[in-house]
């Protein structure tokens, strides 16, 4: 099996666990942000900046971004193995996805800690 070298967990079971762990973190973040928008009468610049000012929110946001990136890597890897039977196309696609995931992660760190 050549293609498994491009999967995140290197095994179906690892991918399975990572996919669910990342899902739960993202679910918590979506609920938390939803709660913020629902309970803030007017989302002003000050309120928005205040939300992201705490270390808690920065770490929570980063954990969520890390989850997004892992989740997308695993998800798109599975999708590509289903719809891209040609190995060369699939490998290039997976490589592009991995590079984008890593770029999003670094960019996200820079954004979160610039505040």
């Amino acid at each position: 099996m050549v293609t498994t070298v491009t999967s995140l967990g290197r095994s179906g079971l690892h991918d399975w666990v990572l996919q669910r762990l990342s899902a739960v973190i993202m679910l918590a973040y979506v609920v938390y942000l939803g709660y913020f928008f629902a309970t803030t009468p007017e989302v002003t610049f000050a309120a928005w900046q205040g939300l992201f000012a705490s270390t808690f929110m920065k770490v929570f946001s980063f954990l969520t971004l890390l989850s997004v990136v892992m989740h997308a890597w695993i998800g798109l890897w599975i999708v590509s193995t289903d719809y891209m039977p040609k190995l060369s196309i699939r490998i290039v696609f997976q490589a592009i996805v991995i590079v984008i995931c890593l770029s999003l992660l670094v960019w996200g760190i820079q954004i979160l800690w610039s505040l």
Binding site: A23, M26, W48
Partner: protein
């Protein structure tokens, strides 16, 4: 492995049961959200200075295109979350029967449709 296995790739000739539709929507919204990630990070970056925040505010109050993009992203998030929770419940052994699978697939689609309307009201 036998190389010449029969394939039926013409999906229009196959009746798609509701869990199949729910599943493909889960995949489509997943791909949409991956494409949305650079847009979301760009918005987050912009939102952290007051001029950028005002610009975003103007975008989402004036531009129909941006309002639509925001609505599409939020709706995709909600659908993907509902469909994901359905998976997690099934992992816990809840709704694993054929009937349970159909009922939960319908629930995901109906709840998402209602949410899509509510999000539309919120965005516009």
């Amino acid at each position: 492995m036998i190389k010449k296995r029969p394939k039926n790739l013409d999906l229009t000739t196959v009746r798609q049961p509701i869990p199949a539709i729910s599943s493909i929507l889960h995949r489509i919204t997943g791909v949409v959200l991956f494409i949305a990630m650079p847009i979301l990070l760009w918005m987050l970056q912009k939102s952290f200075d007051s001029a950028g925040y005002a610009e975003l505010h103007a975008m989402f109050t004036e531009s129909f295109l941006w309002q639509f993009i925001l609505w599409a992203i939020l709706t995709s998030v909600v659908y993907h979350v509902f469909a994901g929770v359905r998976h997690l419940l099934m992992d816990m052994g809840i709704g694993e029967t054929l009937k349970g699978g159909r009922v939960s697939a319908w629930s995901v689609i109906i709840l998402s449709a209602i949410s899509a309307v509510l999000l539309g009201v919120w965005v516009w």
